[in-house]
């Protein structure tokens, strides 16, 4: 076999994530995340990874497959199952100048490190002036029949902590550009990947190692006239599908992808409401005190004079995520729910 056609890094030590792109050069969301980690580790020696089963095994979802071979055990650290100390280790090393990226096998297990996240990570800089450039990442979200302890959307908990930026990307290119920004950010960042998107969505992603996406900037994913759908994460894809269907019925829905849920890009949301006067807020986090509640309140407070209908919300009830397909589908907002909600709003 000749090596002439082999991608750089793909043959020898470890597999560079770019080698995992599709034949036409597209990256899945998962590969895009791996590319971001790889490129930032190549760029900055202070960046290192820690987490459970991320080294030898390559991570529960194989995001870090090949990283140990390339970067070695000093920079790809398999840890004990001790989430408080995973966070504490990240914080302590960040105080000493490192830029740790800690993987949680599932975002659900972030609650096992809750105190170190919300008490130390979120509150330390404000009280001491010591920057904590820590990224905590992990797969969140439901819709994959993973039941109560592998499906959570913890973003409201950590958005509420006050000193942590919370990112929930919906597309591979955003995931890549935002994760790179998160690693370069001097503040704590919670990077919540959505496992439903991991291998479902692919698209071309930038090759430029310095192509970043800005944190706290939302993006209008689809222009529309009649109703604004404000959402993030996997729900962006459902909202886009609903909007496509409604276009044929003569209803024009705009879809705003928040991308970062805290601090929120209020401007993009409000500009969209000024255009359409109708807002549907869809979130996969719980309805009560969820991200959607905050977005809806912001619209009611700051775009009141532009509203032509009450702000509508679609979010799951505050329940453990159920397992049985009928229950989980009833629990999560579906395309049909979004479509109906848009129709109702546009006819209000």
């Amino acid at each position: 076999m000749t090596t002439a056609t082999v991608e750089a890094g793909a043959a020898g030590h470890g597999a560079e994530p770019r080698g995992k792109r599709t034949e036409d050069g597209q990256a899945t969301y998962l590969v895009a995340i791996a590319e971001a980690l790889w490129e930032e580790m190549e760029r900055d020696d202070r960046v290192y990874l820690l987490g459970e089963d991320i080294g030898v095994y390559g991570g529960a979802f194989k995001v870090t497959e090949g990283f140990l071979d390339r970067f070695g055990p000093d920079r790809v650290i398999d840890t004990p199952i001790a989430e408080e100390t995973i966070v504490g280790m990240a914080v302590g090393s960040a105080m000493e100048g490192f830029r740790p990226v800690a993987e949680f096998q599932y975002a659900d297990f972030m609650s096992s490190g809750f105190d170190e996240i919300t008490t130390v990570l979120a509150r330390y800089h404000y009280r001491s002036g010591v920057p904590l450039p820590v990224v905590l990442r992990g797969p969140s979200g439901g819709g994959v029949r993973a039941s109560s302890f592998h499906s959570i959307n913890p973003e409201p908990w950590f958005a509420h902590a006050g000193g942590i930026k919370v990112i929930c990307p919906a597309f591979p290119a955003d995931a890549k550009g935002l994760l790179k920004s998160a690693i370069r950010d001097d503040n704590p960042v919670m990077f919540l990947e959505h496992k439903w998107i991991y291998r479902r969505i692919k698209e071309p992603v930038p090759d430029d190692p310095d192509a970043l996406e800005p944190i706290s900037v939302a993006r209008v994913r689809r222009e529309g006239r009649d109703v604004s759908v404000i959402t993030y994460g996997a729900m962006v894809h459902k909202a886009l599908e609903a909007a496509e269907e409604l276009e044929r019925a003569g209803i024009s829905a705009e879809v705003v992808d928040l991308r970062t849920v805290y601090p929120l890009d209020e401007e993009t949301v409000l500009r969209s409401i000024e255009k359409t006067s109708r807002a549907l807020v869809v979130s996969e986090s719980y309805r009560f005190v969820g991200i959607g509640a905050e977005v809806a309140a912001t619209i009611a407070e700051k775009a009141f004079e532009h509203l032509d209908a009450p702000v509508a919300r679609l979010s799951p009830p505050n329940l453990p995520v159920p397992f049985s397909p009928t229950l989980e589908d009833a629990f999560l907002p579906q395309v049909a729910d979004i479509r109906t909600a848009i129709e109702r709003l546009s006819a209000w």
Binding site: P80, T85, M95
Partner: protein, 352 residues
């Protein structure tokens, strides 16, 4: 590894040069005077917020912190202000912190002994959820090892915090990775009101070290030099790549958990015995007099210097402005630049 129990240093052995022995006396006496005066001001309603007295435990605090070098880091609790002062905090700024002033180490964003000085004395800004700093010390120690730096991290918690999962997580992790860290338990026999028997079912905390494959020692926290020697040994072992150690330093908490707590749950005779026979400040002072390291005049002069420093600190604190209310949201994000700039000083002052 076996648990080692230290005995008090022999009365005729001087483990340190005289000047350093005198410096230890200064920190002990400063701690005692500060603790007593701050409690008086608190009870007079002249000190806002809270106080967490470390009285009776000065031997532990000075002993462990004095074993650290400037490049080593300390992760203390609210009870361990004496250890932070020993590590190098500026008394003036400490007092400004207690009065909520802009010159406090947290710029008024926290109070009392929830204090730290990472870029100066290299101490962690204290948090209440004990032993919350233990996992963080793991990260700092890992950083030293990764970079091959000759530094050591030391974390302190109380006897009660050893019941918490993080205590075990951190000890375990540090031993797995053989990190340069010293785990100190200031066993003052009461976690708020809860005695040792309700916190752990083994005779000593030190023997738990065996379960994590690290050395563990139990020392007399009322004798500063014994504490210092044990800490020095653990610190140097860590510095040489020998991995983590556990030190249990036993004394008694003379005052309540906080300024409001009369601590009636502590048996009176136990407290009286400790105060009469095991006062870490007085016994050490008597030792130095016996050794001839200091004279009575030296001690009086030292006391006068401490009282002067306290008054200067108090004046400095009361003259320092409050933080500007308009700055309340600043300093959360790094990019707002607040912590890289001089703080606004227009917050006004008021008599304490």
């Amino acid at each position: 590894m076996a648990t080692k129990v230290h005995r008090a240093a022999k009365a005729d052995a001087r483990p340190l040069p005289d000047e350093r022995l005198k410096e230890i006396l200064y920190f002990l006496k400063l701690a005692r005077y500060f603790d007593e005066r701050m409690e008086a001001l608190y009870r007079q309603g002249r000190l806002p917020g809270a106080i967490y007295s470390g009285r009776g435990q000065e031997g532990t605090h000075v002993g462990v912190a004095y074993a650290l070098e400037p490049g080593d880091s300390l992760f203390p609790t609210h009870r361990d202000l004496t250890a932070q002062l020993t590590k190098g905090l500026d008394l003036k700024r400490v007092m400004a912190q207690f009065w909520g002033r802009i010159d406090g180490y947290t710029r008024g964003r926290d109070g009392n002994s929830h204090i730290g000085d990472w870029y100066g004395a290299k101490t962690f800004t204290v948090m209440s959820h004990l032993p919350i700093a233990y996992p963080v010390a793991v990260g700092a120690a890992w950083a030293y090892k990764r970079r091959g730096e000759p530094h050591v991290a030391m974390a302190i918690c109380g006897d009660g915090a050893t019941s918490n999962g993080r205590w075990h997580e951190a000890l375990n992790w540090s031993a797995v990775f053989q990190l340069p860290v010293v785990w100190v338990v200031n066993n003052n026999q009461y976690a708020y009101s809860t005695p040792n028997e309700r916190e752990f079912p083994v005779p000593t905390i030190a023997e738990r070290a065996a379960a994590y494959g690290m050395p563990g020692v139990r020392v007399d926290g009322t004798y500063v030099l014994e504490v210092y020697e044990a800490a020095k040994e653990a610190v140097e072992r860590a510095r040489q790549g020998g991995g983590p150690s556990l030190i249990e330093s036993v004394s008694l908490r003379w005052r309540g958990h906080a300024g409001h707590d009369p601590a009636t749950y502590v048996p009176k005779d136990l407290l009286e015995r400790y105060m009469a026979e095991r006062d870490p400040v007085r016994t050490y002072e008597e030792q130095l007099l016996a050794w001839g390291v200091v004279t009575k005049e030296d001690v009086a002069e030292l006391q006068a210097r401490i009282e002067r420093e306290f008054e200067e600190g108090h004046e400095f604190a009361l003259a320092s402005p409050f933080p500007e209310p308009g700055d309340v949201t600043k300093g959360l994000w790094v990019e707002d630049g607040y912590w890289r700039s001089e703080p606004g000083r227009g917050g006004g002052t008021e008599a304490g």
